[in-house]
Subunit: 366 residues, 3 copies
């Protein structure tokens, strides 16, 4: 995969790190730490991979600024090795294949659709009436852009992404395969006498702001009225569910298989870990953190972290949930105490009775 | 978005509510409560939005029959404001775009497929051999109807829905993008000596009855034999998993990311909330309710509501699960009791020993 | 659906079981136990279905070797009735429709793609530049095989499966509709000052070994570097999430809606039940078992089974988690003990005070 060769010194300069060791060593590729050889660079993001660091055959390793380097390997120290890695890949690897501009003859673009300059529409894609696709955007194979939907400049829809009618995607938005943006919210008015559910038309839309990334097979429902909104720079993993009228602030992270119920609002920089669920109609403040698998049932304040089902503040929660495993022991302890206490009580009662006896005798003696 | 103008009086009559205030006021659109202006109508479904009701600039608000209206706003009182809202949208908003009848030239319809009257087959859709599509049904762009599958009258498949071979969809069924109906059930016979898993052919099918709605990227597996069955009027949200041979009664609601394991049966009007999971081979009675994130491991009686992992009756469950957060405190209380009890026991033992001493002295004195 | 007729004797020989009763009885089809008639065979996999066994009208029933047959029905005894059933279906049912070899005229196959012999490419499928499809493989309708991806011999992609660029699928791999293999891992370097998330290019790939089955709408992310790897014979259910750089050994089972976080490694024959979640960077040993809905936060040893959130060994876990429901009772018991203990302490204190009083009097008397 080697495209070119750079010295450790050149790489250190490019990624903004501090080289140490053989700065003239030529590096050709970036590889996983276990596979890297003398002409490869790799990285250690944290302490956890210390052993791998000791064993790697890599020609150079990007390490955290303060990691010990007892073996005096050739390294580049960096405040954020993971970020440095992002730059290494851009330096040393060919970019992922990106389709050349043009409309594939098998694609179906409605006459009223507006395509910007240098747009790429891959095989079998469908762009419906009144839709617009911004300059340099890519509509992947078999993807669908519905009537009146708009796709921003430099956006990329991977094969088979679906954008429903009227949905708006900002600039540089990435939508992975199978994601569905703009499906109907789950809204029914139930008739208490017949038990039947009448569909509430979902006539709102979805607004996805600039620089959002949406994972594979994730679903984002359109609002019943108004808009479901995903803030600038927010990143959404695979198989996430975002219900109607949810509003998510900028720079939030939603990890795989989490779900946000209707009308809930997330602030800026919120993190929702994998498989967590959040009920509807609540607020999560800026930089709130929801741990994996948590079930959030009420507001979370800005900066607060919660854990568990039901979710509670994380410091308490870690201790509390870890104690579930000790419940049999706690229950046993309570039963043992009960027994010992009963014994003491009986002893006391006997003594007391004896005492009372004495006392009555005493009284009798009075 | 205004299509026409109606008076509050006319709207009240149409939605079956009771107008109050300026009944001749003209209304042009329905909007979210925070965005509505003097020519818009909006609604308040419950108490929770009382403050928004107080602040809205809407020309008219649909409110629950008994909500106080201290500010004497122009309102329409209605037993079910959410249901009224469904009617408002139909009155005031243009319907969502629905493709015109006809087969798009890029669609592929097998010669042996049967298409009803006024069917719309959008761009890139595939209708396989022996499939049938009922009158006025829509097969969305890039959707797939497998060999021998049947789609009922007035059904709507959104773009990229997939119906496997032989599956049957009733009338007015709605299938959102990315949903897969009829994929193989997860069935293997495992060889205990080699550890290998031999695939059990899944030769059954799926029957989806009339008026069912299936959310985006939901999966419903075909039966190993016989049929997986979704009862009339049941509504299924996004990313739901329904395993082989599951049977769901009519008018049930399955909320996002819940999962029903193989051969489990749900009655009529059952509600399974978001992210709940239900094991295989059990029964949930009519109108049973499973709370969000619950893990149901045994039968649930008709009308019963359960919560938690493992799921227990909801009244007990709410109290019980809330106590997890207090486990550290409970454990501490037990430890403190233990300590106090030990102290008492020691005191008692000393006293007892003293008593015994006295007694023996007494005896010695005999 | 009857294709032919076989006697009970012939069927017993074919499936390797022991016939009992009317061995010359003709059998034409295999049906669910509740629907089977005198010319059908059915099966009972376990004790649980004893009642159905007693009531069935089936001409023959495959039963576990040691099940009682008090009614002297015509049966075939078999060590693994479910496995026998797999063979019955192959014997008595026509195989599921499989497209005839050939490239549908509406499919788009890039000039540089390599197709093996007897390959079937269905309507609307897209095979990109440099991709290869092995002999007798099927690419379903509207499925996508990305640039440079390879599909092994006899593999089957169901309609609308997506294989990203460079991904490799082994022989006989089955990919159901909507599954996405090779989407970008969820990797960002976050800038602590701006709060923005910079995308880490995901330049690795996914390797899916022979005989793997991947369920509908499941997502498997490509590695950041190197490969996400699914071992030979592993079976993955619907809506499963497998993150970047995960490695799964052979013959494992991943049930619906479970999720495996980045860089976690599963051994051979591991079972992850429905909706379970596993954190990143940990190891699950061979034949480890993760119960449904469990949240695994640390390594699981070979052969160990875990349950709960957080997950703990299953024997402890079952008892422990069942006690959550009894927490109100435990808390009450602790409060009652507290009260009783206080009373005893007070009594002891009084007595002690009395005793001390006596003692001091005694001393005073010295």
């Amino acid at each position: 995969m080697a495209e070119k060769s750079l010295t450790v010194r050149e790489i250190a300069a490019e990624v903004g790190g501090e080289g140490e060791g053989d700065l003239e060593r030529p590096i050709e590729d970036v590889k996983p730490i276990a596979e890297a050889g003398p002409r490869d660079i790799t990285f250690v993001a944290n302490q956890r991979y210390e052993q791998e660091f000791a064993r790697t055959l890599a020609g150079c390793v990007v390490i955290p600024s303060k990691l010990a380097n007892g073996d005096r390997r050739t390294v580049i120290r960096h405040a954020n090795p993971y970020l440095a890695f992002a730059k290494l890949v851009a330096l040393l690897r060919p970019p992922a294949p990106r389709p050349a501009p043009g409309v594939h003859p098998s694609a179906v673009v409605a006459p009223s659709a507006r395509l910007g300059r240098d747009v790429a529409i891959e095989a079998g894609a469908v762009v419906a009436e009144g839709a617009s696709v911004g300059d340099r955007a890519t509509i992947g194979a078999l993807a669908y852009v519905g009537p009146g939907a708009s796709v921003g400049e430099d956006a990329r829809l991977y094969p088979r992404a679906v954008i429903y009618h009227g949905v708006s995607l900002g600039k540089r938005v990435i939508v992975h395969s199978g994601a569905v943006v703009g499906s109907d919210g789950f809204g029914y008015a139930s008739d208490p006498t017949t038990g039947r559910h009448e569909k509430i038309p979902q006539v709102g839309t979805v607004v996805v702001e600039d620089d959002v990334e949406i994972g594979a097979n994730t679903t984002i429902d359109r609002a019943v009225l108004g808009a479901t909104r995903i803030g600038r720079g927010t990143k959404i993993d695979n198989l996430v569910q975002i219900a109607h009228n949810v509003e998510i602030g900028p720079d939030s992270l939603l990890v795989a298989q989490c779900g946000i119920s209707g009308s809930t609002r997330l602030g800026r920089g919120v993190i929702v870990a994998a498989q967590a669920g959040i009920v509807g109609h609540i607020d999560l403040g800026d930089r709130a953190i929801v741990a994996a698998s948590a079930g959030v049932t009420k507001d979370v304040a800005a900066g607060e972290a919660v854990l568990g089902q039901p979710a509670i503040p994380i410091e308490d929660g870690r201790r509390a949930y870890a104690l579930i495993g000790r419940l049999p022991e706690i229950k046993k302890a309570v039963a043992a105490l009960e027994k010992r206490l009963t014994k003491l009580e009986e002893a006391a009662a006997t003594e007391d009775a004896a005492g009372k006896g004495e006392e009555s005798r005493d009284r009798g003696a009075m």
